[in-house]
């Protein structure tokens, strides 16, 4: 998958970004976490209807656990990235900026929790939410610079694109790993701002629909 994609896209975007395979790989593993967590997080209440109906516990734990369980997948996939360090030594920068990686990953996890808190309860009440989410993920895939270098998007669209919740985090991660560059204030804003909004919104929706969801599951 990774090989095919990088072969195709390296040809398409020749010279647009240095070390495109690594750029792509980082995009792919982040994106994997995103899709896996959001898709199964959306289903988690419907799938575990019995537990929710018959036992009592802090129900927000379910979407959170889904996000964290895919964090394990993400960690394993990240190990693949290490294999590429000797192959593309110039693509990685071992600088103190790497210390920001955990912080950015926590941000990503919070973003995922925010999204799944909302979609998991909504999907119980409105069973078409899972389909809407799948379509939205497809669209977001192309609105996020996963497969293409951000440079191919002309301004002003590029800046607009980077405000999408996952785009900011992804670009910050790439900057830290590949260029050893800590995000600028604006880049932090693009990573933190949408995440905070999604998290607050997700929590609000969860609180509003949680009780209703118990009757619909």
């Amino acid at each position: 998958m990774m090989g095919i994609l990088s072969l195709v896209f390296t040809q398409v975007f020749r010279g647009a970004t240095p070390h495109f395979p690594i750029y792509l790989l980082i995009g792919l593993i982040v994106w994997q976490w995103f899709t896996n967590a959001v898709t199964s997080g959306t289903q988690v209440f419907v799938a575990h209807g019995d537990i929710i109906k018959r036992t009592v516990f802090a129900r927000q734990a379910l979407p959170m656990a889904t996000v964290l369980s895919y964090a394990i997948n993400f960690a394993i996939e990240s190990l693949v990235l290490l294999v590429f360090v000797p192959i593309f030594p110039d693509a990685f920068r071992l600088t103190p900026a790497l210390l920001l990686v955990p912080l950015l990953l926590v941000l990503l996890a919070l973003l995922l929790v925010g999204i799944t808190l909302a979609t998991s309860v909504l999907n119980v009440v409105y069973r078409d939410v899972a389909y809407i989410v799948n379509t939205a993920i497809l669209l977001l895939n192309w609105l996020t610079p996963v497969f293409y270098p951000i440079e191919v998007i002309p301004q002003p669209y590029r800046s607009i694109l980077l405000w999408n919740p996952i785009g900011g985090i992804l670009q910050a991660l790439r900057g830290v790993v590949m260029q050893g560059r800590a995000p600028t204030a604006l880049e932090w804003a693009m990573a933190v701002g949408p995440t905070a909004l999604v998290l607050l919104g997700g929590w609000a929706i969860f609180r509003r629909y949680e009780r209703m969801a118990l009757d619909y599951v």
């Binding site: 019995d50 109906k53 018959r54 009592v56 409105y126 009780r211 009757d215």
Partner: protein
């Protein structure tokens, strides 16, 4: 022995009954053109008020659909009332379904651990009681087997065993014993009687009038979502059996 542990005041629960299943897109479009679907409401429970004092064993009887399970779910906190107010003190052990919270791929031991912790036991408490739980369930040789291979009787045994060994303040039992064989049912009844002696408050739904008569100090009879009778088991059970036979 006289502190109210469960207090319900004019509790009502409404469910919506849809003509068509609710879909977000249809509802949003419907709202845009001003033709939103008005779900019909119905009330499986309404204007329920009672108090249960610490140490009481209360049976809940009524036909199918009279609101017994909904009432237990409300008290357990697995559903919320739309009207009125519920207050419950202390640790609740809800036994609302066979092996609820048992994941099919987990082994019996793992399910006991997850369930026990969910019911409020600490890890050390749990370790200390594991032996008693397994002994009670009488399936020691299956404890390392994933529960998807269990029979419904085995699930019931294990589920009841965990809940009955958590020293709850309030034990809620919803007809789950019907699956066990006679000997196990008898054992559960004895266990309930023992818990009752220890001062555990017990609320238990059953269609078995003789079990209710034997175990309970008090009976609540639900009929059409209303609290039809509330009092000593003898006369109420007599009337109940007369009405439905």
């Amino acid at each position: 022995m006289s502190e109210p542990i469960v207090h319900l005041e004019c509790v009502g629960k409404s469910f919506r009954r849809f003509e068509r299943p609710p879909f977000l897109l249809r509802n949003l479009l419907g709202a845009l053109v001003g033709r939103s679907q008005k779900p019909k409401e119905f009330w499986p429970l309404r204007e329920i008020s009672f108090e249960i004092r610490q140490g009481e064993t209360t049976g809940i009887i009524g036909q199918n659909g009279s609101g017994k399970s909904t009432l237990l779910r409300l008290i357990a906190g697995a559903a919320y009332p739309n009207e009125g107010h519920i207050a419950v003190r202390g640790r609740i052990a809800p036994l609302l379904a066979l092996g609820a919270g048992f994941h099919p791929d987990m082994t019996g031991t793992e399910c006991v651990e997850v369930n026990g912790i969910a019911l409020g036991l600490s890890r050390s408490d749990l370790a200390a009681r594991m032996g008693a739980i397994v002994d009670f369930a009488e399936i020691p040789e299956f404890m390392q087997t994933p529960v998807r291979f269990y029979s419904s009787g085995m699930l019931a045994r294990l589920g009841f065993s965990v809940a009955a060994h958590t020293d709850p303040d309030l034990l809620l039992v919803d007809e789950v014993l019907a699956v066990g064989d006679h000997a196990f049912q008898q054992k559960c009844m004895d266990r309930i009687a023992a818990l009752r002696k220890q001062g555990t408050t017990i609320l238990f739904v059953s269609h078995d009038a003789s079990a209710v008569a034997r175990l309970c100090d008090r009976v609540l009879w639900l009929r059409d979502g209303q609290l039809h009778r509330d009092g000593r088991p003898g006369p109420i059970l007599e009337e109940y059996l007369k009405v439905y036979s």
